[in-house]
Symmetry: C2
Subunit: 376 residues, 2 copies
């Protein structure tokens, strides 16, 4: 995997770059749709390519490990072959879901013992095992196993948690070195900065992570309930201590304005369930602002969902029709809203990239955060 | 609307024809996907055109009348404009849903009083009102208001019900003559043969319907629980007394083999929720037979869903992946199964048409009913 830094904004730390993987290139800044169990919910692979213009998608190791399981994925020849997605895939390490979904989890030095949220079966994730699982999934980008402390966390807990994450990281790096890709293409490991909301911990963690000299680096444990301003300050701090010439991935963030502000701070990669999850609840992000499509005001609005997007779905369907589908509880509404929101997120990062390259990112960003935030 | 009869099979009553409407032509025999409230469940309009190759879809007057309602549909300029489907649309009269879904329905000479299954609100459907509603929806083919008696029905009830349906038909024909299309294109009325399982009633009803000299004719009240053989006998009887040079529509039928057998009897048009409803439950109809995709045997079957179809969805996705989506409860599974099953139904009638035109329909049909029926 290589990362070419093509341009940096003069008035902010925003960057435009190009990540090259064995499954193709990724233009940064980029948003990665979340494909939890190997499918981006309610969206087909063709729609992801042709309507959303997704360049890379995410898979969740915890979910894929439980279903369909690594045996099926290996027999298929990896997740790309299994779900037919031929572009890059990133997998998380499973750590986040172990803490948010699984039952009776117990953290030890060795790893985490937990029970499946599906059938209660008992499992152990270790740094070595999650590297192996991600080798079997065949992700282009593999995430290190970490503990994501909740917000707020006591300093002493945050420090111990970060130190455990660092020891696990060293084991992940070693495990990567001792194993080979299973399907003939390269897999890159990204370590994760933790440290909760404490600036000294965040700096120490970013420095430790930077020393690992991996292909790219991630920031975890933000957007977990802390105030927005605090997230921005900690993201900026982490970026300061992470290498310039490697991609920076801010995990699980966020709203369109969160993404724009973090691009300004030097973040290159984002993922979030918000466009699909909120879409399924009728919340649309558009180039004009935020829409609750279930609102009665859209009942006879026969204008397209969003004429500001190239996405055929956003231009074909009207607000009145989509509102009708939501009111009637039709499956098609979930699909249309998901495609539209994802297309908007990909449009957002593409526009940011264009403005970084042409040198007017900051004034554009300052205007757009207000436009995109407004309720319609 | 015109109907051109292009060929009749020498060994059966199967026919190939062409229906021409103001929204385009329909090659018969044809299957019409059901778009209950203005959407074919879980399938986009683009998928219906490009993957399923649907030539005409159905809308349910009862559902559309309740949601979004005729006011919204009129403001949109009709259902074609509202949902973006530019090819022909047929609407049922609402009669069937009034009897199967609504509460506290009361049949009078004037029409049917019922309560909405959604909010309990009280409504009256009359022959005149359902013609007006279908004018507002803007269907290319409008169905007459009928009573569909349950199976089994006593002779005396079936006879009275048929006579009421006939009086309502006369009022529908009159209402059609006294009203105009609302959107500048032609709308055709199809009357419906009833008479339950009684041969003399079916004959009388088919003769009465034939006398109305409408653009096409339908057979209702079959496939409501009677034995398959009885359905075929009654369908054949109705076809005998319905005009040769007008399309014949068998409502709500059925399995792939039901469709093939009824094509052999002289039916030109079909609709059924089976491909979409059964698809959402994991039952796939394929060119090799019937599949329960949730079965464990498909867990590591990495062959395409159905290589015998042109449909990109059926060729792109594997049985193992679709099984995984169903086991994991992913929305995408519903979409893939629905598209595949609809594509199979359209493939079925297209193949039937090809074999009618080339003169070997009967031996092909006799082989295929066995192939399509077998459980895989």
């Amino acid at each position: 995997m290589t990362f070419d830094l093509l341009a940096t904004d003069t008035n902010s730390s925003a960057r435009a770059g190009l990540i090259t993987t064995d499954h193709g290139v990724i233009e940064t800044p980029i948003f990665m749709p979340v494909g939890t169990v190997g499918s981006v919910k309610a969206v087909t692979q063709v729609q992801l390519m042709d309507e959303v213009n997704a360049q890379i998608i995410l898979g969740n190791t915890y979910h894929l490990y439980l279903r369909p399981g690594t045996s099926i994925l290996e027999q298929a020849g990896g997740l790309h072959k299994f779900n037919g997605w031929n572009r890059p895939i990133l997998t998380d390490s499973g750590g986040y879901q172990v803490f948010s979904l699984a039952a009776n989890r117990k953290i030890k030095e060795e790893g985490v013992v937990f029970q499946s949220h599906i059938d209660g079966s008992r499992h152990l994730f270790t740094p070595e095992s999650v590297i192996n699982t991600q080798r079997s999934i065949g992700a282009d980008i593999i995430m290190a196993f970490d503990e994501c402390p909740p917000y707020p966390s006591e300093y002493i807990y945050a420090k111990k948690s970060m130190e455990l994450t660092h020891r696990w990281l060293a084991r992940c790096v070693a495990a990567m070195g001792q194993t080979e890709p299973k399907y003939g293409y390269e897999q890159s490991l990204f370590p994760i900065v933790q440290g909760s909301t404490y600036r000294d911990l965040r700096q120490a963690s970013a420095e430790y992570v930077a020393e690992m000299d991996c292909d790219g680096n991630a920031i975890g444990g933000l957007s977990v309930g802390e105030p927005e301003q605090m997230m921005y300050e900690l993201s900026a701090l982490c970026c300061e201590f992470l290498p310039v010439y490697k991609p920076r991935y801010l995990m699980g963030v966020g709203t369109p304005w969160n993404i724009l502000e973090n691009i300004a701070l030097g973040i290159d990669m984002f993922d979030c369930v918000m466009p699909t999850r909120n879409g399924r609840n009728g919340m649309l992000f558009t180039t004009q602002g935020v829409i609750n499509i279930k609102n009665k005001k859209w009942a006879n609005d026969f204008t397209p969902l969003d004429e500001g997007l190239d996405c055929p779905t956003s231009r074909f369907y009207t607000k009145a029709y989509l509102r009708h589908l939501f009111v009637a509880g039709e499956f098609l509404g979930l699909t249309i809203a998901s495609i539209h929101n994802l297309a908007f997120y990909l449009h957002l990062v593409k526009q940011a990239r264009i403005h970084i390259l042409q040198g007017d990112f900051t004034p554009w960003k300052n205007e757009m955060v207000h436009v995109y935030k407004q309720r319609m």
